[in-house]
Symmetry: C2
Subunit: 307 residues, 2 copies
């Protein structure tokens, strides 16, 4: 099956305790696509500028990612600069130049309309909702968002949440969205806003999925996947989008969307996030094999498995 991602493609400058890189390919849709490409056919809708050339295009081509939905606009591609100090969980944004991304209005190519899975990366909620409404045939829609929209576009985001099946956000975003400090209580409030499942990403502690009663099978228990303790986190940029790529990519590769499949997807999300942070930018995500992914899946499994 195939998955369509709508989101940002960017050039990043990143500084972390492990070093500095400049002008590397980044953006949510980039990390997502590369991670998902190991599981399923990926289609992208994004916007880039004239500085996006054959070299960048080639990265996607090597992963058989369909880039026909990437619009080339006049001007420069979105640029982001960030740095990490000792606390690798939080990036300090050095600059954000939206450039062509500022007036991004996602256009879905006709050839994409039959796509079965959809991922709305972190963009303005009304744009997310518009894309979702155009893709009426999808089996499952995943969605990301951020504090900026939770605070600044709450009403619009509320409308979007009615249209998505799985929301993937972090602890802080969940609590802010629900206006509730207890995490499981916040999770239930968010599920009442629309999504059938909520994936809360805990960074170095893994992730938890909460299900709406009756969604994807029987029962109401949440499920947790661990994260691997990693001795050298070179660059946390894109970890969440890579997580989403592993999670959604695995789902799109499965016939049935049962709870068991969603649980395994949560592990694959962790696996792809753990690879992403091992090198700067998308370097590690560009050079994986499916065998390495399965090996690490087993390591994740062993990490919490009692005999």
């Amino acid at each position: 099956m195939s998955i369509l991602v709508v989101g940002s493609v960017a050039f990043d400058d990143v500084t972390s305790p492990s070093g500095s890189v400049k002008n590397i390919l980044g953006g949510a849709a980039t990390y997502f696509s590369l991670a998902a490409s190991y599981f399923t056919q990926v289609r992208m809708v994004a916007v880039v500028g004239a500085d996006f050339g054959a070299e960048q295009e080639e990265v996607f081509k090597r992963h058989s990612i369909d880039t026909r939905g990437i619009e080339r606009a006049e001007g420069k591609t979105f640029r982001w600069g960030g740095s990490y100090t000792d606390n690798l969980n939080e990036a300090k944004t050095d600059y954000t130049d939206l450039n062509v991304f500022e007036s991004f209005h996602p256009q879905i190519p006709a050839e994409y309309e039959d796509t079965e899975f959809l991922f709305l990366a972190n963009i303005q909620p009304t744009l997310q909702a518009n894309v979702r409404r155009k893709m009426n045939g999808v089996r499952l829609t995943g969605c990301d968002t951020m504090n900026y929209w939770i605070k600044g576009a709450h009403a619009e985001l509320t409308e979007t949440l009615k249209l998505v099946d799985v929301l993937l956000i972090n602890d802080t975003e969940t609590k802010m969205l629900a206006n509730e400090t207890n995490l499981p209580r916040a999770a239930h409030k968010v599920l009442a806003m629309g999504p059938k499942a909520l994936v809360i990403k805990h960074g170095e502690y893994g992730a938890t999925i909460f299900f709406r009663e009756g969604a994807f099978g029987i029962g109401h228990h949440p499920f947790r996947a661990p994260a691997l303790p990693i001795e050298e986190v070179k660059d946390p940029t894109g970890a969440g989008d890579s997580f989403a790529g592993g999670f959604m990519g695995y789902l799109a590769s499965q016939k049935e969307l049962s709870r068991e499949v969603l649980k395994r997807a949560l592990f694959y999300g962790g696996v792809m996030g753990s690879f992403a942070v091992e090198r700067f930018g998308t370097e590690r995500l560009q050079s994986l094999t499916r065998e390495q992914i399965e090996e690490r899946f087993q390591v994740f499994r062993e990490l919490t498995h009692l005999e």
Copy 2:
């Protein structure tokens, strides 16, 4: 088998978003003993004042806890007052009256000398080391400590760590002790200081155990146990000590100390911590059945178990 715990018995005043309680039985050794009592025979070494009476004594007696090692000194029992606001992970200490605990010099009754397992709750490191040296026949020693000793008694703590088998501390304490911000790297540094295993408690995210190469079996992979998402945390006081009680108590109930047993112990630690926080003080720990503990163990197992 039996386990000896050396640590504090206290009276606590606690305020949390769920309410307020005054003068309730608390202290690290209290939480530890009650949690461990569901698994094994517990012996206590502690000090109390004249305000510790039949009512408190009775709590331990009902759990067949041996209190012959509790010294009755002139003066008042240790008193602690703390409050929790929305962030239940961190207590604000309102007051600490050490009282008789200030001059606590643990004495081990002759009848306790054959105890197989030892837990050194959070007290001054040299006192911990002295107790450990007197208990030469123990099979396994567990140990807790805190920031106060890591900063203020580093040299003494370093000596103590050479004498313990398993250290149980939290993320911040691990990083501070190792002077290293990356958690797995910090864990390896702490293991190099003496312990064969290090249990890092992550609060609401569970716990990770790191093993020294070759200790308790083959392999070098860490292991993670989840924590249960709990909708109403009434009082987090004693969660870490209850975790230690479940962990150590389960170990003391086992013939072999294999990696698999230590992994299960990590789950039982989480189980007992999860019960402790559901009510104020030791209320929940006083009223459990072994059946309820096994039921929750299964819930913890399901929480991360892939078919």
